[in-house]
Symmetry: C2
Subunit: 430 residues, 2 copies
């Protein structure tokens, strides 16, 4: 008998009807002979509504109390889901993160999982129960306080539980059919990816793809837990994320081998801004002091580029990108260090976008970079910054150019599907 971990996002359990629909799907998995553990997010917009309430009573809600508040959301959805399953004649029990043994550090609102000790889950499974576990939450190791894992935390809960329980697969149910070769809202001809490696998925996630979060995929890679991203509405095969191009099993078809594509997909991100530090003396240690100031303010930066210095002045410009939300903090930190660093001025630009091409195949296909730039050039898109990894090329362009650039690249690399697909696309909850 296999053990399956399923995770359902907030949009899948947004109301009583959604909960009953999900309950039926869970019971199907149980009937297929599996032990089933389900991780569930809060219903629909519950989390946002609770945050709104918190802000009404306190402009800066205390972290410990905000976690106590937000964890009420999964408590509601998990209890309702357990009831709905029991109503279908199957045994089910719900467990909080703490009861499920999700042990975290004490960093409220973005705690990290330290350990998972699912003793109560094991026992309940062995007694024939379907176990419903609250996503997104845990209990701190030292203080025994309730913690939350931050955005996307429910996916991480699911993968962590799958690892601790040695599950066969972690199924992430969402409101899209899987991971796509590009955002279907931008590229109508985007195709669902059947299989993608952990590495490519990690690059897509850190390049703007929102279906799976980086740390969830990272966790799955570390423990080698196959993830199956699929729709809670359609019941179709979705996207497998795993170390090897595993054979997909479908109930109708038996097994099909999946080849690894050269290019997995095109991601884009318009949530970043660019800061340019103008007139930096071109001597050793200057860049270090700039990024020390940024790091001290606990700001994560993404891409960095330093221009060739003008021979006449001995001065250069350094540009970097960072989340828009950190823009104000970064400017303040640099202004404070202006005299010590010795630059002329700062330029802030939030009208940028990033386009990334991801695929392990580019390691052995040297033409990829050239084709990428040609496609952008043919589309009339100007490139402002470039950054590459072994399996990714990213460029920064004007924000307004992003949709056209993504479509051009998608077409150039033969990723377009033959038919326009009707795709439902939205948020995936926590």
């Amino acid at each position: 008998m296999g053990l399956v971990v399923q995770k359902y996002g907030g949009s899948s359990v947004a109301d009583a009807e959604g909960i009953k629909r999900v309950a039926k799907r869970i019971v199907e998995a149980k009937k297929n002979g599996n032990q089933v553990v389900v991780v569930v997010s809060a219903m629909g917009d519950t989390t946002d509504e609770l945050i709104d309430l918190a802000e009404q009573v306190s402009p800066i809600p205390a972290g410990r109390e905000l976690d106590m508040l937000l964890t009420a959301g999964e408590r509601i959805s998990m209890a309702l889901l357990a009831m709905a399953i029991k109503n279908l004649g199957h045994e089910a029990q719900s467990f909080t993160g703490s009861q499920a043994g999700v042990i975290t550090d004490s960093v409220h609102n973005k705690a990290r999982i330290i350990d998972v000790t699912p003793g109560r889950i094991r026992t309940a499974l062995d007694e024939g129960n379907i176990c419903i576990v609250a996503g997104f939450q845990g209990v701190s190791q030292d203080k025994k306080d309730i913690t939350t894992l931050g955005r996307g935390g429910s996916d991480t809960t699911a993968v962590a539980l799958a690892a601790a329980l040695d599950a066969e697969v972690c199924e992430i149910y969402t409101d899209v059919d899987g991971v796509f070769t590009a955002d279907p809202r931008v590229v109508k001809k985007a195709r669902k990816i059947d299989w993608i490696s952990f590495e490519d998925m990690l690059e897509l996630a850190s390049s703007g793809s929102k279906v799976l979060l980086h740390r969830c995929v990272e966790y799955a890679r570390r423990y080698n837990i196959p993830i199956h991203v699929r729709s809670s509405f359609s019941g179709l095969q979705g996207t497998w994320v795993s170390s090897e191009p595993v054979a997909q099993k479908t109930q109708q078809q038996g097994e099909t081998k999946v080849e690894q594509a050269i290019i997995s997909g095109v991601a884009h991100d318009t949530s970043e801004a660019k800061i340019t530090v103008v007139g930096v003396p071109d001597k050793p240690g200057e860049a270090a002091s700039i990024f020390r100031a940024i790091a001290d303010a606990e700001i994560n930066i993404d891409m960095v580029v330093q221009n060739v210095s003008a021979a006449s002045t001995g001065l250069t410009d350094i540009s970097f990108t960072l989340p828009k939300s950190e823009g104000r903090k970064a400017i303040d930190a640099l202004e404070k260090a202006k005299t010590a660093i010795g630059f002329d001025s700062l330029r802030y630009d939030d009208q940028i976008g990033k386009i990334s091409l991801v695929g392990a195949g580019m390691k052995t296909n040297p033409g990829v970079t050239a084709d990428f730039f040609t496609a952008l050039s043919d589309a009339g898109v100007n490139i402002e910054l470039i950054s590459t990894s072994e399996i990714r090329i990213s460029v920064v362009t004007r924000k307004d150019d992003v949709p056209e650039a993504v479509r051009a690249v998608h077409t150039a690399f033969g990723l377009d599907s033959e038919s326009d697909e009707a795709v439902v696309y939205g948020g995936t909850g926590r």
Copy 2:
């Protein structure tokens, strides 16, 4: 430094404004030099809304899961309240029933408190925190499952914590000014009671007064914890419930002795029905077999009366009252035992009401009973059943006669206030 336990009902924390108002009141108590523990109910109608959701996914929600669901309500209110207090510059931490050490039996939806081990509360208090504790909930001793205490459970949580922490007083904040000599919605001239003994309060609670629940008062009496019922809106002195007529302290006036009145108040209850078992053979054991059938169905009955048997037939009638909600079950149980018991028929009547006069003074004032019946008779109210304890007389009348009967008795015993008071009266939450 004294330790005060305060309890706020759902109507006091119905929205963000209410929570902020309550936070100010709590901070006042802290500023007055007290250690403060606050027990809070779920916001406004949260509990009812959650029950409604549960019924949408399952007609008979599982007890364990219903408790998991409902306890989300206090989690929300307590976290918000702690945030609001911190926003006023005071340290506060919220605790679930489990974290606060409220240990119960495993009877879901109406668990009983077995023990309270408030170690974490003690520590947090000693560190200078105001502690906010979820009312209505606990954790089962054997299975470590989340439990709820049933209606009025938050008051019981407050009294139990007050006992375990050896508090000076348990303040129950509600949306009325205290305990009244009668329901102010029925008797405009009802007066707020300044002090009432545990015994009289117990009788009022079991006779239909809804301000405090019987088991909360019972708990307070057992551990001799004075309860102060007062309005969270007005800030006025409310009603003290304690063993001795303690001197009331008011900030302006110093101390005032309170005399025990002969009569504490008039309670009424229209939530009961009457079942009459007609044509019961008048021989030993008949009544026992009737009430054994009722007890086996786990139905609590209230008043019982057996008519004098008619000499001609040797048959008698037995009537008893019980909650309307149990009526169907009782009828079924009796019908099933009809042959064994040997009665003619059953009559069910839910158009009845009960009026009770409560006061320890009636022990030493033999005229009370006569005055009570005279008042009812003068008001033209017909009496159907009578039951008495040492400090209470109750009668059953037609439901429609109840308001007039209550007013007549209230006036006859000199309980009317001199002026019409403006009284806010409503539900008190859990």
